[in-house]
Amino acid sequence: MKIDRRRFIRYAILGTAGAAAAGLGVKGMVDMLAPDKAAQGPSDKRTPLKARPAASVPPARTTYRFAITEALVEMVDHTPVYHWAFEDLDDPRGMPRMPGPLISGITGNDINLSITNTLPDVHGFIIPGIAGTPGNGIQIEPGRTQTMSFPAPEAGSYMYFDPFNAPVNRVLGLHGPMVVLPASGNTPYSDPTPTVQKLFDDLGTAAHFPGEPWIPEHSRIWLFHSIDPRFNAMAERGEKIDATRFTDEFLPRYFTINGESGAYASHNHNTVPHGRIGQPHLIRIMNTGMNADSPHIHGNHVYLLAKRLPSGVLHVQENVVLVDTFTDEVSQCMDWLLPFIRPPDIPGDENIPLRRLIPTELSLTLGGVGQSPLAYPMHGHNEQSQSAAGGNYPQGMVTGWEITGDVDGVDFPRSNPEEKGGPPEMH
């Protein structure tokens, strides 16, 4: 089976549903919005995905035209908060985004980027971890457009942002994700360590990882951010913000994942991985906010694959540890492999499918919501990040993942498939 690398990533967005596209252009939008294998309805047949990703699929998009602009972003409690934001000028809906649009590519392919500063002050742009101009950063005067062209670098997760008056301009909205896939191989990296390579070789082949290998479509970005509206209000009034005061006095009032919080982030299938047991997913965690957090995932331990330090240096891990909680430092990218194994502490014969082992649970409806699929959260364990507007647990930095069926390819019975919600484009 040929794997189309144009469909490799989902990235939740703010605003009207259907706006995902993740920077892949109109054609890319159509591809992205097609449900993947896991999103299709119940089936009795398993679809093996043993093929390695094709090595030479052209990227969907090589040219990105961004504007640096401003917008009022509606928080989870409906409070509008002023932000500086990137806008994709080729997005037909013509909306800024917070966080900014996804830049994506395959190592070695061209990326052409132009950025127009529509704001009255000087701004900048940097992608730490890339040699030359992108990694050194550029300055963009008000009203001017700067361009850069570069080959997509070493595969991995990157963040781009405005490094001026650091960290103020980044935190006030000028940031976004960049994802580069390798031109070949079955891992997310150009130069995986032997242990990362072994782990990906074992997915779907070793006895302890029954199911399928990882495919790039089974990826999510979780971009964590924090917002202190007091400083956004200063920016809206045109006041100069002192970076030292900003760092010393910053007190987050909102905590987001991909620009959403709470129930929104927990029920957006562009953020929430879902699939049957044996469909491993890659999670690219990025922290553009001001606070370290301690993200904790339920249901499965995850493999910590790689970290990109704030300097931009990538460390693909040699010692690939299994964790359920890990420190997410500010300005760090961290890749997790969520193995999507059967939750290992469900009692009973592991040879009996869960649909037969836990039929009562899977048939129950509690609070008007069916217990199928099995849903597990991921949340910050620095639990301040679970608040919004000073409290309102859990309307902060929380999302989750869902197991929709057994490893033999049979989905769990769904009491009411419509009730789980999510953005309309996914349903």
């Binding site: 703010l14 605003g15 009207t16 009022l72 509606e74 989870v76 409070t79 002023y82 932000h83 909306m95 800024p96 529509t118 242990t195 007190l251 905590f255 709470g262 129930a263 927990s266 029920h267 957006n268 606070n291 301690s294 339920h298 249901g299 499965n300 331990h301 690939v320 299994l322 964790v323 359920d324 420190t327 939750p343 502490d345 469900i346 009692p347 009973g348 836990i358 649970e361 509690l366 609070g367 008007g368 217990q371 099995l374 849903a375 597990y376 959260p377 620095n382 639990e383 608040s387 507007a389 000073g390 409290g391 309102n392 647990y393 859990p394 309307q395 989750g400 009730e419 789980k420 919600g421």
Partner: protein, 375 residues
Amino acid sequence: MTLRNIPLRQVGPNELPVFQKHVCPPTFSGEAIDPVTPTSHIARNLAVNMDLELRDGTKIPMWILEDPEDLVGGQVFPSKTIRTVEGDIVHARVGAKLNTHTIHWHGIEPTSMNDGVGKHSFEISGNFVYQFATNQAGTFLYHCHKNTALHFEMGLYGAFIVCPKKPDTMEARDVPDAPYPPGGPGYVKAFNPPTHCVKYDVEALWVPDDIDTRWHQLGHDASMPKCNPDNPAAAENFTKDGILNDFRPDVFVLSGEAKRMDDNTLFEKAAIKCKVGQTVLLRFISATYTINEIRIGLPIQFIAQDGYPLGVPPRGQYSHPVDRAAGEPIRITAAMRGDCLIRPTMAGRFPCTVDYFHWITGKKLYTAKTFIEVE
């Protein structure tokens, strides 16, 4: 330039139930769902009020989970450690008192209804029997997962230790059967073919915590949103005056011993006493909302993280244990765990510290000092 709006996405009618459940979970009670015959029983009630006393006599209100079957040591802070055996099937009878609550068995991975997260299942009103296996020997924790920012801070947590079975060797003759007694001796899961068990003589448990005493004046449902089934995402549901985003610790805790910021005296309760030639197993669990760095005054071997032994096949084969020099910092944040082995080769007193750094500024707030005394 017109200032444009980036609105929240519309919540469709089909999403109302999940949005409502996210903030206002249903209650539930009863016996285990899809029951399997258990090999181990646990009982816990929550919440129980208790005071944490400082050296100056000040009392800080805490909430703990009690073991109602232990009339002597069932009410302690941190809440009483649970000990089971690898492979056990556990039935945990949980009673919710004073309010609705849940227990999340952190790092143990059962079905959603046994995972103790209200928005994905329910909160307990009355009693419920959680069912799960403890298939992985290691260091876990358990805690309430309702209004968690507050309930975890208030002390509704404890250690959960899963012990490997004793190997059938001569060395194991003098060790009691698993679960091993607090303090040792016992066996821990670690890379050591073919049994992947290592004997320890002394077991220590360090649990750093930090307290913002302002938070300890709040009620169980402090700053929770209002329940509004017709419009669960409405602006008017939100409380606006909470402080659960604003954590300013003024008391620092290590394994239940609490000190004010200006109290630099030693934490005696956490001190480890052992002899030359013995093997010490040190387990640590972060219960803080700050960032911790632990420094141990002797070389250590780091053998397990978050309950999973490094290097042990099949799923741990992509990792390996790590040797760390004396004093090398181990950086951890909330709910992370680690196990390490210490094998002292000389007598003496070896200082150990736990630093607490602010969660936003990264500035050091406090250093807790304790020690390892080797005879």
